[in-house]
């Protein structure tokens, strides 16, 4: 297996920690976009003979996760004129510690799982687990709608990393579905974010508390 792939996965895992530690929304979006581009490069590096499907996945991922979605998020942020500071429920240092602990646990856990010989020396499984965990911490630990969207996207990035294990064997269908739904999902989320803003004059999901027992 290509040693460069592990380097990229390590980089993506580093970006996970960066996204947990950052206190500004634009920085979070930048980190996420960078992670998207790194993920997009990976399938091309994994394969030696370049199938057009693999190239298509790579291009679509870079365009989707690296360009389109971040720019949509930036637009949503501008139109909604929200405060750029993030407002954590779980503080930055605790989230960093959680994220780092999670990455170590993911490395340990991945050793316990049976892997095919060609996947045994990659970081794909621990990388995927750590990224999914990061996504969850952001989803739960940040209050602003846009930062929750970022958390959701990082969660999806983790799933994509896991999907790379299957890129050769399983039909393109699964991957295409992911990209399509991801884009559509963010579109819709974006619209909703916009409407929530109009309805509440704020993007603070803590104010979404009218519906309670």
């Amino acid at each position: 297996m290509n040693p460069n792939l592990n380097l990229l996965i390590g980089l993506a895992m580093g970006l996970n920690l960066l996204s947990l530690g950052t206190s500004r929304l634009p920085a979070l979006i930048r980190t996420m976009a960078a992670q998207g581009v790194i993920l997009g490069v990976m399938p091309v590096m994994m394969e030696h003979e370049h199938d057009w499907r693999v190239v298509l996945i790579a291009l679509a991922t870079i365009a989707g996760k690296g360009l389109v979605i971040p720019s949509l998020l930036r637009r949503a942020m501008r139109t909604a004129q929200i405060d750029r500071e993030l407002d954590p429920l779980i503080g930055f240092v605790p989230s960093l510690l959680l994220g780092a602990g999670g990455a170590i646990a993911a490395l340990a856990l991945a050793h316990l799982l049976p892997l095919l010989p060609e996947h045994a020396d990659t970081l794909l499984v621990p990388g995927a687990l750590a990224t999914v965990l990061t996504g969850f911490i952001l989803l739960i630990g940040r209050t602003k709608a846009i930062s929750q969207v970022c958390g959701y996207l990082i969660l999806e990035n983790g799933i994509y990393l896991f999907g790379l294990l299957l890129i050769k064997a399983m039909p393109l269908l699964v991957e295409a579905g992911v990209l399509l739904d991801l884009t559509v999902g963010v579109f819709i989320i974006g619209i909703i974010v916009d409407r929530i803003q109009r309805a509440f004059d704020s993007l603070d999901t803590r104010k979404l508390t009218a519906l309670r027992e």
Binding site: L113, I159, A169, G177, G185
Partner: protein, 481 residues
């Protein structure tokens, strides 16, 4: 064109047509038109089941035959109600609503017929997204809040079910699979699937599709969504969208069973089902909102379905019966609750009372439906729940049966408390002072009445053909070795 594909294509074409239709007064008529065509097609396939190619990705197989007709029927009756509902709500633009509702029907038909792990996921995800515009139709801040929670919780659930699907794919790959993700191929691989990956996949898929179904503790989107959505949307979500997640769990359960982890799967299903019933019963004792009450009742009934799924072929057949009886009865409840909600202007017990005088016919349907859904004979839910109980006792789950019955009793107390709270007494002055009483026309009373009648018919007659279909679906899921 194969007829089972028409079930998917007709509603999707109708959705596209609705999106392009210029006149918003006549657009809602597309709902019953497409619904009728769908029901006729579905009925034809039901009585003349087509041969199923084993490797097909989409097919009207015995499981689809056991569930899809009721979804189609429910949609048709809701569509009929929807025409009049949208006439009342003329102030809201209905283009997206009608198109999304039709798209939901098409995608549900696809999801029920999916025999491929990836296709199943894609269609479930698509249904989730298509339902979003339905939830914020009212455009109020509360509706937006409900939509946001639905999307965040539902989106996370759907993401986890994709991760679970990938894990199951890896289990197959690790066991030497060729990358064929149809359920038939996965089951044929059986014990060759890598066990640790199958178990991880099962947990993730159960959590993921369980979120879509609304099992506790992943049910948090449900009270918000059902509480704020229009009655017709609630009926279709509760009777249709949740059932696609349920059949997904059934199909995956049989792969896990083939891999030799069936006992573990059954234990988790039983535990999560009982937990859902318990949580729902406790919340039913506390809620003061009659639409949220319906949501908790739905959580409870999803728990019953899940318990049935844990009990082998007899339990699965009982669960499929319950999909029918619960879907039809819930439909009647949601539609009549919608009428009451419109007449009263609020859904909270604190503001609503005396609806027996203000909207006598809807209130009568609501009360009867409440008794039906709490398993009063001779309505459908009584017999389907009885079958679940008998399957549980036959499998030797005495304690679980006791908890099950206890939860039913608690739920009965909770439901009667809220329902009689709003139906009894004298109407508040505010409700009468407006001078403009809500007109209970035949058009808004007949659809829920028909649904209730169907529930009664299901209980009284239990047609032999349906019993055979449910048993055949259970036999598909538990192939004899």
């Amino acid at each position: 064109m194969k007829p089972h594909l028409l079930l998917i294509i007709v509603p999707l074409l109708a959705a596209a047509l609705a999106a392009a239709w210029p006149c918003s007064r006549t657009r809602p008529l597309l709902l019953p038109a497409a619904g009728l065509l769908h029901t006729l097609l579905c009925g034809w396939l039901f009585f003349v089941p087509p041969a199923v190619e084993p490797g097909a990705w989409l097919a009207f197989d015995p499981l689809a035959r056991a569930v899809l007709p009721v979804v189609s029927l429910l949609f048709l009756i809701c569509a009929w109600y929807g025409v009049f509902y949208l006439k009342v709500r003329r102030e809201r633009p209905n283009r997206i609503f009608v198109a999304a509702l039709l798209a939901v029907l098409g995608l549900l038909s696809a999801g029920h017929q999916a025999r491929h792990l990836g296709m199943l996921w894609i269609f479930t995800e698509a249904v989730t997204l298509a339902a979003v515009p339905l939830l914020h139709f009212n455009g109020t801040p509360r509706a937006f809040e409900a939509t946001w929670k639905y999307l965040l919780v539902g989106g996370t659930g759907i993401a986890l079910s994709l991760l679970g699907s990938l894990c199951l794919g890896y289990a197959s790959l690790h066991g030497g699979g060729e990358g064929n993700l149809t359920f038939v191929a996965l089951m044929a691989q059986g014990a060759g699937l890598s066990r640790p990956w199958v178990l991880i996949a099962w947990v993730l898929l159960l959590v993921g599709y369980g979120t879509k179904m609304g099992l506790a503790p992943m049910h948090t989107w449900k009270p918000e969504a059902y509480g704020e959505a229009a009655g017709i949307v609630g009926a279709i979500l509760a009777g249709g969208v949740t059932s696609v997640a349920f059949t997904a769990i059934l199909r995956i359960r049989c792969v896990v069973g083939a891999a030799g982890a069936g006992a573990i799967a059954d234990h988790t299903l039983l535990a999560i089902g009982l937990f859902s019933m318990l949580v729902a019963a406790l919340f039913l004792l506390g809620t003061r909102d009659f639409k949220r009450m319906l949501a908790y009742s739905s959580v409870e009934h999803m728990g019953i379905l899940t318990i049935g799924a844990a009990l082998g072929p007899a339990g699965v057949a009982a669960s499929l019966f319950h999909v029918w009886s619960n879907g039809l009865t819930k439909g009647a409840l949601f539609l009549s609750a919608g009428n009451i909600r419109r007449a009263a202007g609020s859904a909270s017990m604190d503001h609503v009372r005396g609806m027996g005088l203000l909207t006598p016919r809807s209130a009568a349907i609501f009360v009867t439906g409440m008794f039906a859904v709490t398993a009063l004979p001779p309505f459908g839910p009584f017999f389907s729940e009885l079958k679940v109980v008998r399957a549980a006792l036959a499998a030797g789950h005495g304690v679980a049966t006791a908890v099950f019955l206890g939860c039913l009793l608690l739920a009965f107390c909770g439901l009667t408390r809220v329902v009689f709270g709003i139906v009894d007494g004298r109407p508040r002055h505010g409700a009468m002072a407006g001078g403009r009483r809500y007109a209970e026309t035949t058009a808004v009373v007949l659809p829920p009445l028909v649904l209730l009648g169907l529930s009664l018919w299901l209980g009284l007659f239990q047609p032999a053909v349906l019993l055979d279909v449910w048993a055949a679906a259970a036999a598909q899921l538990y192939p004899s070795p």
